[in-house]
């Protein structure tokens, strides 16, 4: 069987990314143009600015990717692109660029779900064994996803309000840390102690859902009250106490779900997978279980296009093909995305 090459584009938020992946598992080239420096002055990602950067960067990133891969578009089997979820204006740049590429070279076009991408980032380091459980944690997502086969995703738990990464950013802002604040909280937390004992949102018995808005409010209230009374609370302790609550809930629920569904692998994906506190706790828990814990290297945790190519490779195998009317879908559902793959593979 000949090798399969997928070229992918990802522009769902503030990274303009392009990659070529061989056989769904091997990175040939992976280029990410980050806009973080540009958004810093605004204290967060500004959608209009992100879209403007994407349209300026797109062909430059494409050219660099193919140069690094030492391949041409003609050698690609298909073009994959993140169709959602994400910022609609940002997604549109990638989707239209992908359509232009695919049309110009008459190649198959694949629409990929961003979270499917985050999960498949792991397949670039280790082959999947089913059933597997994925904990997806990022600025926009906190989800527990069960997979029994390739390309089919079942959400067993998700956040009812803020995503974990969003809570990190808000707490960071309250502590007057510069954007992006998540990594800085992780850093501060390692220098402090859980002295404030913030609440843990367990929700109903047996639920795998999450909630972080109560915790976020508790942190903000605590700081506010201390300020009014003229008390000094160590920032390190605030960060450590906040992180302790987030990490305990995330890892306990992941552990319970992994046992209930008898999974072989547990995958951690998304930007927050880079969090050292979370990594350490999950490593500790799963060291005692007969399950494999997979956390991808840092550059594959954050948004990139190699993960979209990896997920696109499966979509390609399953026979999914997007039409020329492919659109950006800012609220694309993961479960409906899997159903589509299933349906298409039956045709």
């Amino acid at each position: 069987m000949s090798d399969q090459y997928i070229l992918a584009i990802e522009t769902s938020c503030d990274e303009t990314a392009c990659a070529v992946v061989k056989n769904g598992t091997e990175i040939v080239a992976n280029v990410v143009a980050s806009q973080i420096e540009s958004h810093k002055r605004f204290g967060g990602v500004v959608p209009e600015i992100a879209s403007r950067h994407h349209v300026e960067q797109m062909t430059i990133v494409l050219a660099e990717t193919l140069k690094k891969a030492q391949l041409t578009i003609d050698e690609m089997d298909a073009i994959a692109v993140t169709e959602g979820p994400g910022l609609v204006g940002a997604l549109l740049v990638g989707v239209n660029a992908a359509k232009a590429l695919a049309f110009a070279k008459q190649k198959p076009l694949l629409g990929v779900h961003h979270i499917a991408g985050h999960i498949y980032a792991n397949r670039l380091t280790k082959e999947f064994e089913f059933p597997l459980l994925a904990l997806v944690v990022s600025g926009g997502h906190t989800e527990l996803i069960l997979m029994k086969e390739h390309g089919v995703f079942e959400i067993i738990g998700e956040t009812r309000d803020d995503a974990a990464g969003e809570a990190y950013d808000k707490v960071a802002r309250t502590l007057a840390l510069p954007y992006p604040g998540g990594p800085l909280i992780d850093q501060l937390a390692s220098e402090g102690d859980d002295t404030l004992h913030f609440p843990r949102a367990w929700l109903e018995e047996g639920s795998y859902d999450f909630s972080f808005s109560g915790l976020k409010s508790a942190v903000i209230n605590k700081l506010h009250n201390a300020e009014q009374r003229g008390e000094e609370i160590k920032r390190e302790d605030v960060a450590a106490s906040f992180q302790a609550s987030v990490v305990e809930v995330l890892s306990t629920k992941t552990h319970k779900a992994a046992k209930q569904y008898g999974v072989k692998q547990v995958i951690v994906a998304g930007g927050v997978a880079a969090n050292k506190g979370l990594r350490a706790e999950l490593n500790r828990i799963f060291a005692q279980e007969n399950m494999e814990l997979l956390i991808p290297p840092l550059h594959l945790c954050t948004d990139n296009a190699a993960m979209i190519a990896a997920a696109g490779s499966i979509a390609y195998h399953l026979g999914h093909r997007a039409d020329w009317d492919l659109n950006a879908n800012p609220s694309l559902s993961l479960e409906r995305y899997s159903l589509r793959n299933k349906r298409d593979s039956c045709n």
């Binding site: 994407h54 349209v55 062909t59 549109l92 660029a97």
Partner: protein, 235 residues
């Protein structure tokens, strides 16, 4: 020369194909629908109708704005990526110029504009002449139309007004310009992708990577940020 022209910068979506330098096909709609969904199917249909394969294209011409930020980006992402992929030149032409091209045969001063809400417009002033050339007279601006029309009135020249948003501003144009305002029938206000294609045929092409939208306006967050910086520097 085979040229594909794309305009998604405003509500009118247009695609045209020139084959061996002659207009082979043109597709225009003026409906409130998503350009992202409809652009590539339109290109695909038109190219197949005129029996042209993407690899046969020699140049891509795109309307680069001003207009809807999203619409402009859909056109530019498509045009730039397709040109880069095929290794052919790309030319960006102002969307205001595309509308103004419709008035070229009037042999008059031409003002094309797009409504930009709250009394603002994107506008430019051109001179048409009989040898089919359009010369910019004033720089394009994002400006209060009322103020701009006062300046124009001072010139005292008859001016053709062309815009899809003509009805919104007809009263103020007629009030300011009186008899100097020439407002033609509906069809002349529609930007034609075929005119865009012809205008791009002779024009010096842009560097694919460097071609960027002609927004004529900073992103709101950036404008606010600059204002804030100015305040801090003065205060």
């Amino acid at each position: 020369m085979n040229i594909l022209a794309i305009d998604t910068s405003n509500q009118t979506m247009g695609v045209a194909v020139l084959k061996a330098g002659r207009l082979a096909g043109e597709y225009i709609t003026d409906v409130k629908k998503n350009h992202s969904v409809r652009l590539m199917p339109a290109i695909n249909q038109l190219m197949s109708d005129v029996e042209l394969h993407p690899k046969d294209l020699d140049k891509i011409v795109v309307a680069k704005g001003p207009g809807s930020y999203t619409g402009v980006r859909i056109g530019l992402s498509t045009a730039k990526t397709m040109a880069w992929t095929l290794g052919i030149p790309v030319v960006g032409i102002s969307s205001l110029e595309v509308v103004a091209l419709h008035g070229i045969l009037f042999n008059q001063q031409i003002c094309s504009f797009f409504d930009a809400r709250r009394g603002l417009v994107y506008t430019g002033l051109y001179q048409g002449d009989s040898i089919n050339e359009l010369k910019p007279i004033w720089d394009e601006e994002n400006v209060l139309f009322e103020e701009w029309l006062i300046r124009l009135k001072e010139e005292g020249k008859p001016t053709v007004f062309l815009s899809q948003d003509i009805e919104l501003h007809k009263a103020i144009i007629e009030k300011s310009m009186g008899d100097l305002a020439i407002i033609p029938d509906d069809v002349y206000h529609v930007p034609r992708p075929s005119l865009l294609a012809f205008a791009g045929m002779e024009k010096q092409h842009d560097s694919v990577h460097a071609l960027i939208p002609n927004y004529l306006r900073l992103a709101e967050a950036e404008a606010n940020w600059l204002k804030q910086q100015e305040k801090e520097n003065n205060g």
